[in-house]
Amino acid sequence: MIPEIGHYALILALCVALVQGILPIYGAAVGNSSLMSVAAPAARSLFFLVLIAFGCLAYAFAEKDFSVLYVAATSNSQLPLHYRLAAIWGAHEGSLLLWTFILTIWMFAVTLFSSHLPETMRSRILGVMGLVSVGFLLFMLSVSNPFERLIPAAAEGRDLNPLLQDPGMVLHPPMLYMGYVGFSVAFAFALAALLGGNLDAAWARWSRPWTTVAWCFLTVGIALGSWWAYYELGWGGWWFWDPVENASFMPWLAGTALIHSLAVTDKRGGFKVWTVLLAIMAFSLSLLGTFLVRSGVLTSVHAFATDPKRGMFILAFLAVVIGGSLVLYAWRAPRVGLGGGFATVSREGLLLANNVLLVTAAASVLLGTLYPLFMDALDLGKISVGPPYFDSVFAPLITPALFLMGIGPLAQWKKASLPDLGKRLRWAFGVSIVTALVLPIVLGEWTPLLSLGILLAVWIFATAVVSVRERIAHGDGGSVVARLAGVPRAYWGMLLAHCGIAVFVVGVTMVKGFETEKDVRMNVGETATIGDYTFRFDGVRDVMGPNYVAAQGAFHVSRDGREAAVLHPEKRRYTATNQIMTEAAIDTGLVRDLYVSLGEPLDDGAWSVRLYHKPFVDWIWGGCLIMALGGVLAVSDRRYRLSWRREPQTVPVGAQLAGRQMA
């Protein structure tokens, strides 16, 4: 009964989504205010209907209802409750439901925080989001129904893929989807602006916080995924350029470019056409990511679902949504006109350069991801594109972008003077160069890449310091504290996000430069040494988990004779699927991780063991968190809070708009 209610809620949701997608957009076109007023209530009811469906599926999982095919396929009676609930997004159908649910959450948020928008704009935005949700609801109801019954019911479920039975995996997909789907708001804003023909600074200002919030979620989502791969896959890597990782990274790159482009459109009225295109691109790449993962068009460890019917549906959906929006772009964008002019050396110029680099990087990732498919489609053979391609293409594109990142915030709008910038930045440059040359030698090894990484990281920190110092020197008000307090949060957010990048660069550089690993055969009582650390193997014992049995090893790690950590890596066998999983044990530290994973048991109690010493590896994810915090700080800026609180009644929409345009 409960699953049928969920199914029925989805059918109703489809009807509501159709209404929401058609009436308000039509109403906005003909100026019918009663049709436009349908948008917000429709969006809210859509949210509640999908919430009901989501709750029904959650209930089926919680109650172990194995008469629901999806529940039987992705969970098991031995699976603990929190993983049963996480199993909702453990496979294809539920992932789609989560996607749709998150889309309606964003819609609901738009209805709450859009009272200051002109009614036509607001109804177009919600209309576009409604149309996107139509696609996903249709997809679920036609070929991916999560509520499909299994009659007769299975006695026992097949269990969730053990790889996914992990706290990181519980959080990773919702975060990632919040990011992916969050770009639908910026996308809807862009299409609404194209439809209405009002691509102005106000449009950019409204889009900015939405885009930034989505970007923060995506950043955290990708970081979680990378962290999960690091400790769960058992070989200590944190990024593999796997097609599915790339699928999440491309929207991130486009979204990062979008954030910067929106800043220019907001502050200077420039880059309008470019910003619209980036908004379309960011969401299109999110949809493409979904397609790549869900259609099985590329082989990958992630492609749980391989079904050509589904693939065709998503492809048609992509054609309609992306193709449609690009047609709209080709039709309306030529009339938008350009913003104010600017010199090559100016903040606009630097941001444009950064944008071009980011988009080129995204394009190169896209090319590398799809290249095997292209070759196969043209019958030129099967090839695979691996990390060497991505490393050698990506690094040269991102290096200048990181360098420009230091200069951008210090350059004036419209026209900056190169000699003046050189003067202001000379000590930052000097410090970076000297550190880059000396630090690696102090650390014991000098390589060009190590030096380059340190140069970029120090450069970003140093220019941030210069920027803060200048802010304080030129700020209004008396004391330094008062001047600091006067600096807007958006500025601090920007700075913090940039420093997050620097922290990330430190992590990557140090791990690549100094990590050590050892594959050894260890008997009980034997020791192995990597770096300054000595690992002693104290044997394995059997432990029982809720749905697995494991051999748990014990390793005592000491440094200079003092005990540093005790690590318990496991080799688990999940009983329902009989799958073997390696659970690495990690001792996390600010400047290093110690990482042990059990290989295979050998004769007489010995094991093959893999040991890693990874300096600064946690800075990689720490940097991502700092970036996301920077985004949060920027969104909490006063200017956005003011615009959200403003009641529409106090200032008529027309006057508000006119005032903004004059300003």
Partner: protein, 175 residues
């Protein structure tokens, strides 16, 4: 060309490739072994442990070699197809029980039926390495001279059997 049409054009081209890509099978990996002699092995049999099985025993016949395991869900999917094929008597299917436990393998065959005249046991997966097994199930068509003629990665289905395996087997048997 109008620069505003450029994104649409690029997207159109990509869409075309994706559409073609959907019709292709990314799992279909050409095996370097096709056309080469089947690697030689000699493994104990599952049912009669004191006997061994070797591809040399099969010289002069066209036969299928199927890698499977009781823990593999794809093998369960494929199993009815193998049963039908075995019952048709068109071509013998020999099994290799790959990285499996003897008791579980026997129980599995008892429960679902045994399409194999002989099952060889590759507990350590060494023979699997020689054959380049990516994952079970995998099936090889081997001709009268002992050359591998076709490799199927993943479960066999009725369509593949009808359109690929059986025509190839008939052609090879006629030689």
């Amino acid at each position: 060309m109008n620069k505003f049409l450029l994104p649409l054009t690029i997207f159109g081209i990509m869409l075309g490739f994706l559409a073609v890509g959907l019709t292709l099978n990314p799992r279909e990996i050409p095996s370097p072994l096709v056309g080469k002699a089947a690697p030689v092995f000699s493994l104990p049999q599952l049912h009669e442990q004191d006997k061994v099985f070797s591809p040399d025993d099969m010289k002069g016949q066209v036969w299928l070699l199927n890698f499977w395991a009781s823990w593999c869900s794809g093998c369960r999917t494929e199993h009815p197809v193998l049963m039908d094929l075995a019952n048709s008597g068109l071509v013998p299917i020999y099994g290799v029980d790959y990285k499996d436990q003897r008791g579980e393998a026997l129980a599995w065959l008892d429960e679902w039926g045994n399409p194999y005249p002989i099952v060889a046991v590759d507990a350590a997966g060494r023979v699997g390495i020689d054959y380049g097994v990516y994952g079970v199930p995998e099936t090889y068509v081997i001709d009268k001279q002992g050359l591998i003629r076709y490799k199927q990665i993943g479960p066999l289905d009725d369509e593949t059997v009808e359109k690929k395996i059986l025509p190839l087997v008939k052609e090879l048997q006629a030689k």
